[in-house]
C-alpha cells in the first residue's frame, strides 16, 4: 500500500542495484581535454610538445587542489585559458623511457601524517579539500550519489584492496577522531578496520546532509564532515598504483543499459559513449554527473574530470519537454516531496520575479539541491535551476555588501553598480 502512495515510484530511485561487477577499463582516448582553469602551467609546457602518462603539466595555487598530469602519450595540440588539449601519439623509445622513469611513491610506507600529507597528495593529483577537512567525525558517503549511478556497490564490494588502502590513507590524513562508513542498509559489509553505519538508500538519501542526518540523527550538526566514496577510491587508487591520479570511475548509461568504467581524466564524452556502445540521436540530452543533479552538455567534445560521477544520455521523448517558461500551477507536488521541508513552489516563483530577498526569508539557503522538486513538477518548471539562481544572486549580493562595508563611503555605490552591470 505504501508504494501506491509513493510519489517516486521509479525503481531506479532505490540506490542499491545489485551490481557488483568490477569496473571495466575505459577506452584509450584519442584525445583528451584537461581542465586548466586556475592552474599554472609548468615551465616549458607548451603547444606541440610531446608528453607521456603521469607527466606533470601544471600546478594549482591552492594547496588542497591536486596538480594536473597528462593521462596519455600524446602531443599538446592547444592550450587556452580553460583547457589543455592532448592528442594521442604512438610513443617513441625516448618517450617510453620517460614514462618508465616516473617515480612510484609508496604512500603506505611513508611516515607522514595529517597536514604533512597534503602537499604529497597534491603532488599526486589528489584534491584533499573534503578528505582532509577539519572535523570531529568524518562520514564517508558510501551511497550511489544519484539514481542511475551504480559504481558505489562495486567500490564497496569488489574493489576491496583499493577501498582498504583508501581508508588507511584517509585515517592518516584526516584529523577526525572518528571515521564512519555509511552504506545502504541492504548491504551486509564486514570491515574490521572501519565503523560501518547502515543508512536508508532511497534517493534523496544519498544527499550529503541527509546521510549526516541518518548517521547522527541531527540536522546540520557541528563538527561532522562528509566525504564521498569516490574520493576515498581515488586516494586508494593512488596508494595502490603509487602513481599520480589520472583516471576516474564513472557510470556511463542510457535508459536501457549502463556500465561502470575506469576512464582517463579528460576523456571526451563522445568517445566514451561510443566505447560503451550507447547510441544517441538528435534531440537527446547529454548529462555529465548524475541524472538528477548533473549538468547538460552541449557538445560531445566536452570531457570528464576527476570529480565526474557519470555520463548519461537521456533520450528525447523519454521525459516531457521542459519549455522553461511554464507558470507554476500550485499543484503542491514539490512541497510534498522536498526533503528539506521547503516550499519550492514559492521559491521558484520568487526567483522567477527576482524577489531574492523574499526567497531568503523562505529559507532558500537550506535547499539541499536534490532536484526532486523538478522531478515531480507536472508543469515541467526548472525549479532547481530557479533555486540555484536565487542562491547565486543572494551570495553575490552578500559579497557586494561585504565589499561595501570595507570600502570608504562613496565608493560603495560604484561597486554595487558594477555588480548589477555584471548580472
Amino acid at each position: 500500500m505504501k508504494e501506491l502512495f509513493q510519489m517516486l515510484p521509479d525503481p531506479r530511485f532505490h540506490l542499491v542495484y545489485g551490481i557488483t561487477q568490477r569496473f571495466s577499463e575505459g577506452p584509450s582516448p584519442r584525445q583528451v581535454r584537461l581542465n586548466r582553469e586556475g592552474f599554472k602551467l609548468l615551465e616549458g609546457i607548451s603547444k606541440k610538445m610531446l608528453v607521456y602518462p603521469h607527466q606533470k603539466l601544471g600546478v594549482h595555487p591552492s594547496p588542497a587542489k591536486g596538480d594536473v598530469f597528462s593521462p596519455i602519450f600524446g602531443k599538446i595540440t592547444e592550450v587556452n585559458e580553460r583547457s589543455i588539449f592532448v592528442e594521442a601519439v604512438e610513443p617513441d623509445e625516448e618517450l617510453r623511457a620517460a614514462a618508465q622513469s616516473v617515480e612510484k611513491v609508496d604512500l603506505l610506507a611513508m611516515p607522514e601524517r595529517g597536514g604533512e600529507l597534503v602537499p604529497i597528495l597534491k603532488g599526486l593529483g589528489l584534491n584533499t579539500g573534503s578528505l582532509g577537512q577539519d572535523c570531529e567525525t568524518l562520514i564517508i558517503n558510501g551511497l550511489n550519489p544519484d539514481p542511475g549511478v551504480t559504481w558505489a556497490e562495486p567500490m564497496l564490494l569488489a574493489h576491496q584492496r583499493n577501498l582498504h588502502n583508501g581508508l588507511e590513507m584517509l585515517r592518516r590524513l584526516s584529523p577526525a577522531r572518528r571515521i564512519l562508513l555509511a552504506v545502504p542498509k541492504e548491504i551486509r559489509l564486514q570491515h574490521h578496520d572501519v565503523e560501518i553505519v547502515h543508512v536508508p538508500s532511497h534517493y534523496p538519501a544519498s544527499v550529503n546532509a541527509l546521510v549526516i542526518k541518518a548517521v547522527t540523527g541531527k540536522e546540520r550538526p557541528d563538527g561532522v564532515g562528509i566525504v564521498g566514496l569516490h574520493n576515498v577510491w581515488s586516494l586508494g587508487r593512488v596508494a595502490v598504483t603509487g602513481l599520480p591520479l589520472t583516471e576516474t570511475v564513472i557510470t556511463i548509461g542510457s535508459f536501457t543499459h549502463s556500465g561502470n568504467y575506469i576512464v582517463k581524466e579528460g576523456s571526451m564524452i563522445g568517445e566514451l559513449l561510443a566505447f560503451a556502445n550507447i547510441e544517441f540521436r538528435d534531440g537527446d540530452t547529454l548529462v555529465r554527473g548524475g541524472p538528477l543533479r548533473g549538468e547538460s552538455i552541449e557538445k560531445l567534445s566536452r570531457s570528464v574530470t576527476k570529480g565526474s560521477t557519470g555520463v548519461f544520455v537521456v533520450e528525447a521523448g523519454s521525459v516531457p519537454v521542459m519549455e522553461g517558461h511554464s507558470p507554476c500551477i500550485n499543484c503542491g507536488a514539490c512541497v510534498l516531496v522536498c526533503p528539506a521541508r521547503l516550499s519550492p513552489n514559492l521559491l521558484s516563483r520568487y526567483a522567477e520575479f527576482a524577489l531574492h530577498e523574499r526567497a531568503r526569508k523562505e529559507y532558500v539557503e537550506q535547499c539541499l539541491e536534490c532536484g526532486l522538486c523538478g522531478y515531480v513538477c507536472i508543469a515541467r518548471r526548472p525549479v532547481l535551476q530557479y533555486i540555484r539562481l536565487a542562491k547565486h544572486k543572494l551570495a553575490e549580493a552578500d559579497a557586494v555588501r561585504r565589499l561595501e562595508e570595507l570600502k570608504p563611503v562613496g565608493q560603495g555605490e560604484a561597486a554595487s553598480g558594477a555588480a548589477q552591470g555584471g548580472n
Binding site: G332, S343, V376
Partner: protein
C-alpha cells in the same frame, strides 16, 4: 561513429534530467478517466438531457478558455484538458434538465471569474467550478434546485426528504438507490458509487491527495455520527450523508484541487476535516439542503491560514 555523430544536435536542459513523467495533460486525462464511470451512470439514469448538459458545459469551458488566452495574448493551452475537467465537473453539479443558457452562463463564469481572472490555471484562490456554480445558485435558485427542475422523474431528492420529512422517512430510501445514482441531485454528483470507485483509484495512484479527501469524509461522517448518536430519529446516519448531495463528488474532485488547498499533509487533512464539518453545519443549521459547495468555497479561504502550519526547514533551529 564519432565523426558522424559530432554533428548531432543535443538538447540542452536543466536538472533534473529525469522526470516522473506526469504532465498537466496526463493528470487531466487521469481525472477524466476517473469521472468516466460517473458519466456513464449519469447517462443511464438521466438519459440524453444529461449528455446535452455535459457536452455543452465542456464545449463552452474549452471555448471560453481559448478565447481568454487569445485575448490575454497567451499561448493557447487548452490542450492540457483542464478546461474539459472543469466543464465536466460543473455539469455534474447541475440538474440534468438545466436550460441551455444556465449551462452556458455557469461555464462562462467558471472559466472567466474562477480561473482566467486570477491569471490562469492554479492561480485561483477558490475552486474554479464552484465560482460558476455559486453565481448560478445565487442568481437562479429555482433553476438550480434539482428537485424543482427534475419534474419528469420517479426519483426522490434524499436531502429534501431528510430536511422536510425527517430521518425516519429518509431511511426508507434504499442504499442501493443512492449508490447507483437513483436520486435527485446534480446529474453527476448523485452517481455516488461510480464517483467513489473513480475517486479512490485516483487517490491510490497518487493523482489526488488522499489527505484532504479522507479528512473531508471523516469530517462529514464524524459530525453526522455525533448527531445521529444523539438522536437517531431526527438525524440521518453518517452513510446517508456521505451518499447524498455532492459530498462524494466534492470530497474526491473539488476539495482536492491542489491550487486552492494547503500543500502539506497535516494542513491538508485539517482542511478536509473542517470542510466536512462545515458541510454538516450547513446541512443542519443552514437554509440549504446540501451546502457542500458553499462549505468548500469557505474552506478554500482558510488555505493561507492552514498553510502557516509548517515544519521548520531542514537544519533551521
Amino acid at each position: 561513429m564519432t565523426s558522424a555523430s559530432s554533428s548531432v544536435l543535443l538538447a540542452m536542459s536543466a536538472p533534473p534530467y529525469w522526470h516522473c513523467g506526469r504532465s498537466i495533460r496526463r493528470q487531466s486525462l487521469y481525472i477524466l478517466a476517473a469521472l468516466l464511470p460517473a458519466v456513464c451512470f449519469a447517462v443511464w439514469n438521466w438519459g440524453l438531457p444529461a449528455v446535452r448538459v455535459m457536452a455543452l458545459s465542456v464545449a463552452v469551458c474549452v471555448a471560453v478558455e481559448a478565447l481568454c488566452q487569445k485575448l490575454m495574448g497567451r499561448e493557447l493551452a487548452v490542450d492540457d484538458l483542464t478546461a474539459v475537467c472543469s466543464g465536466l465537473l460543473l455539469a455534474f453539479l447541475l440538474p440534468a434538465d438545466s436550460p441551455w443558457w444556465l449551462v452556458v452562463l455557469g461555464a462562462v463564469t467558471s472559466i472567466t471569474l474562477g480561473k482566467m481572472a486570477f491569471g490562469g490555471l492554479g492561480a485561483n484562490p477558490v475552486n474554479t467550478v464552484l465560482v460558476g456554480w455559486a453565481v448560478l445558485f445565487v442568481s437562479f435558485p429555482l433553476h438550480m434546485d434539482a428537485n424543482a427542475a427534475s419534474l419528469g422523474t420517479t426519483f426522490v431528492d434524499p436531502l429534501v426528504r431528510l430536511k422536510f420529512f425527517g430521518a425516519e422517512q429518509a431511511a426508507h430510501i434504499p442504499l442501493t438507490d443512492l449508490l447507483l445514482g437513483r436520486q435527485i441531485n446534480g446529474l453527476g454528483a448523485g452517481q455516488i458509487g461510480a464517483l467513489f470507485v473513480g475517486g479512490s483509484l485516483l487517490c491510490m495512484r497518487g493523482i489526488l491527495r488522499w489527505h484532504s479527501a479522507l479528512g473531508f469524509f471523516l469530517g462529514v461522517a464524524g459530525i453526522a455520527a455525533i448527531f445521529h448518536a444523539s438522536d437517531p430519529m431526527l438525524h440521518a446516519s453518517p452513510l446517508y450523508h456521505l451518499c447524498t448531495g455532492s459530498v462524494m463528488l466534492a470530497g474526491f474532485f473539488l476539495i482536492t484541487d491542489p491550487a486552492n488547498a494547503p500543500s502539506r499533509p497535516l494542513p491538508m487533512f485539517l482542511y478536509g476535516l473542517i470542510g466536512g464539518g462545515l458541510v454538516m453545519a450547513i446541512r443542519k443549521y443552514g437554509v440549504y439542503t446540501d451546502g457542500t459547495p458553499f462549505a468548500i468555497l469557505l474552506v478554500n479561504m482558510l488555505t493561507p491560514l492552514l498553510d502557516m502550519i509548517r515544519p521548520k526547514p531542514f537544519g533551521v533551529r
